[in-house]
């Protein structure tokens, strides 16, 4: 990896069934990720993906780009919800560039969108290069 390299965008479809499976695997059974009525009752536009599910997709994209490089830092702000419809799914796209490579570490500057809208703020991953 070299600074300026483009990381080929990865597209992931998120369905309600994915959110159920993620709730079981992670232990996060917050009903805003399952139940339309509860989600709307707290001011959300509908059922939303776990922020950590979207961040896990970032981790997945990083593993695919780097062939499973060791991750040293990973994080983001959950600035805009990924609304997941009851039928079909939401399309999350993870792309980015290699921002810098120094001291054996590569910093990836990422962009994560859903329906063309950024859903993560300052998503960043640092991997051992």
């Amino acid at each position: 990896m070299n600074p300026g390299d483009t990381l080929e965008p990865k597209s992931f479809t998120v369905t309600r069934a994915d959110l159920v499976a993620y709730a079981d695997a992670s232990g996060d059974h917050n009903p805003i990720h399952q139940d339309e009525e509860v989600a709307r009752s707290v001011g959300l536009p509908g059922v939303i993906a776990h922020g950590m599910y979207t961040l896990a997709l970032v981790g997945r994209a990083v593993a695919e780009w780097t062939g499973g490089a060791e991750v040293v830092d990973l994080g983001a702000k959950f600035t805009s919800p990924v609304v997941v419809p009851a039928e079909g799914g939401a399309e999350v796209v993870v792309g980015g560039t290699v921002k810098s490579v120094a001291d054996g570490l590569a910093t990836l500057a990422l962009e994560v969108t859903c329906e063309g809208r950024k859903v993560l703020g300052m998503p960043k991953a640092v991997v051992r290069a």
Binding site: F12, Y22, N30, P31, S41, G43, G59, P81
Partner: protein, 134 residues
């Protein structure tokens, strides 16, 4: 009801340690589609979530009024099957914006020797008012 400001500095341990078993990792990796055999980097959220739930239970905060605002992990080393992990959440900050509490937390995740393997920093947004739309 706003969150009690005297919370800042208080610690909330996860009720039980978590053993990183191949089954547990496999279920998590499969749910997020993670490739390969490595432990997915977001796996420590399982334990950080337990610590957060202990905090919410202690403060009688409803989980459904919480939205995750930010999460960052720093890893001292990769997690491997066989690790026995413990987590302690510390409330590091609290502020109010438009009827919502913005709760800053740090969760330290340690192995059986007490060494820190991962530090998670999370912001939790607690909306006590139903009109707190995003």
């Amino acid at each position: 009801m706003p969150v009690d400001p005297s919370l800042v500095g208080r610690e909330f341990p996860a009720p039980a340690p978590l053993t990183v078993t191949p089954e547990r990792v496999g279920a998590f990796a499969s749910a997020v589609g993670h490739p390969g055999q490595d432990v997915p980097p977001t796996f420590p959220i399982v334990l950080a979530f337990d610590a957060m739930q202990a905090f919410l239970d202690a403060e009688q905060i409803d989980l459904h009024r919480i939205v995750h605002g930010e999460q960052r992990f720093a890893y001292a080393r990769p997690l491997v099957p066989g690790d026995e992990l413990s987590a302690t959440l510390t409330v590091t900050g609290l502020r109010q914006i438009g009827g919502a509490d913005i709760i800053a937390t740090t969760s330290e995740i340690t192995d059986a020797t007490g060494a820190v393997v991962c530090t998670g920093k999370a912001t939790l947004v607690h909306s006590s008012a139903t009109e707190a739309a995003r």
